[in-house]
Symmetry: C2
Subunit: 409 residues, 2 copies
Amino acid sequence: MAALHLLSPRGFVAGATHAGIKRRNVPDVGLLVCQRAASAAAVFTTNKVFAAPIKIGREHIAGGRLRGVVVNSGNANACTGRQGEIDALAMCSIAAQVVGCDERMILPSSTGVIGHLMPMAKVETGIRAAGADLGDSAEHAERFADSILTTDLTRKAAAATIKIGRQVVTLAGVCKGSGMIGPHMALPGKAGSPLHATMLAYLCTDADIAPAALRKALALATDSSFNCVTIDNHTSTNDTAVVLASGLSGAKINTAPALKKFTAAMVELCQSLAQQIARDGEGATKLVTVTVKGAVNATDAQAMARAIADSPLVKCAMHGNDPNWGRIVSAAGMCGARFNPDQATLTLQGTRVFHRGRPLTFDTAHVSTSLAAKEVTVELVCNLGKAHATVWTCDLSRDYIRINADYHT
Amino acid sequence: MAALHLLSPRGFVAGATHAGIKRRNVPDVGLLVCQRAASAAAVFTTNKVFAAPIKIGREHIAGGRLRGVVVNSGNANACTGRQGEIDALAMCSIAAQVVGCDERMILPSSTGVIGHLMPMAKVETGIRAAGADLGDSAEHAERFADSILTTDLTRKAAAATIKIGRQVVTLAGVCKGSGMIGPHMALPGKAGSPLHATMLAYLCTDADIAPAALRKALALATDSSFNCVTIDNHTSTNDTAVVLASGLSGAKINTAPALKKFTAAMVELCQSLAQQIARDGEGATKLVTVTVKGAVNATDAQAMARAIADSPLVKCAMHGNDPNWGRIVSAAGMCGARFNPDQATLTLQGTRVFHRGRPLTFDTAHVSTSLAAKEVTVELVCNLGKAHATVWTCDLSRDYIRINADYHT
């Protein structure tokens, strides 16, 4: 069996092209289309400064049905006023002509620089070219995945199958995100839990599932995946994750066990994508997984995991392979969560370094060497309750400064 | 008249010495003594992981009277368990012998690496040597100020006089802080507003003021100064600010107008010290003053100013002299405060760059050149209310990474 990709679920095609929004000759406009009106759900940034496509997207997802998404990279269409909204709607309208549907059946996304009007002539040509290129091959999936990248160094994709009764359901997704990552996404109208960056994620499935159930599954998956990634704790104006369900597998997700199984698969898919984002954070040399266990409640657990993952001091220590546990324990203590160092245990890459208020004697050179891995785990056990949380981040390197001090508006 | 310094207020002497806690031959133990039982107040870190001297300090300040403070740099005496408390108390006890007072009249402070027991033989020798060196000269003041520095590149001090009736009251202070700066200090037992780093501040005055009034003045000054500095948004285990009032000017601060004048002077003194901390942040090349005006309330104003000042993306833009206003406006939008970009105006170094939801046309090269200054101002006007807040920070440079990825435990 061939490797799964974004277009493996039945009923989807995609196309992408270099429209010239970006100078480099890489795809910067993409179109993902379902052959029928898909059941759909989306979560969006909770930033009060949200881009024009977010405004239009919230309107278009309201009915719970979409035929497709139109995306571009190189320009965020954010802080662009009324003209920005006209342009985001025009992107939908052009895509709808290509697809042959109502413009409200298309969800738009943009990522890139803030505060510049969209070069609409290029965008229109791009959307039409992407529409002329639609297909369901792995190559089409890859080109679409590439069309959403900005400072990303790697393409990000994941896919899985589950069995519902005797039927096979495929779930697949692509995403982007490398800087301005600290997503806090929520269903339209919901406050949502905190998250940040421009991160975009597009998920396809051939499950037969109603929009309401799909919304629940996406919200739950987002809260335990994309909303648990932080690169620089800066929530973007454009964060979006959307899922389209074609129903063409014939597998109905209309019982509690089926929904549970489907949601679990979506959680796992989104967690894979989220980890790919953290691993490819701007300037990152490693993926850092921060787990807090034994907290009084989930809010406390997440606050501590985030405080650790967002501390520049912790991130620099991770970059320097320095088992500087004082920075980690003090980060847990500063976020307002209930925490008592005299009851806590900290483990770095499997080595206990702090236990019940006191440093443990450990082989610093050994732990430092173990921290030089591509994947590093930080585990704080609070011994105060049963709640836990995991946040994915990366180290903070000189390259983050280079990318963000030299990337001019 | 000679320049004012920490020991200009009547009744104070100080001494400092190199005890050998630090390898470099710089003062690392200091003693600041009042010739009589001074009225005293202190605020401490609100981190749940607090160092042993914080625990002892909270106990010793309870009576509102102190004879002095004993300080060391090079070791934070944090996460050191019961032995750490014994050592912090021993520091007070040795200092009390030197001064000739009860050990509860001494407040201890430590700053440096977390998780190592204090080298008490060196510390004891150091405290006795500092005690043998006590004096009230400018040089004594400078040596004391130097004894609290860690990664700081500059000594930090400020002083002022005010007239209360016909009498002159002198206020003076020294402080330290460069990394792990995001103080959130509060009076013992109070929740306090957020702040972060190890920052230490010692203030002397010869005003005649009761402990309760001094506490109020210090709490107010702290909330509008030290608690408004952020280098890396990491609240230290050791943050402390303490003020001693000898009363020897004879000027009684016991009327509302006198207290108002005294408090205003203390606010100004602490703001000067706070700005010195931001200016000398680890790796900093410039002081960045973020002011938010027209917010719905003070909490919102401070949340937005902090979100801007703590964003690594904003700090990198400041480092690169990049008028990347999208990062600033989106930071204001992500912190939960009430904010509407369509009503807001952003000004960078005096140039309006964003107004009511839309970019303004401006000379990018000119603004970039203006951002290359040693002091940069970012002003966001929300037009939603009357509340305002100011936060001081610095840019984020490769040197921050060098200092914190290479500074090993």
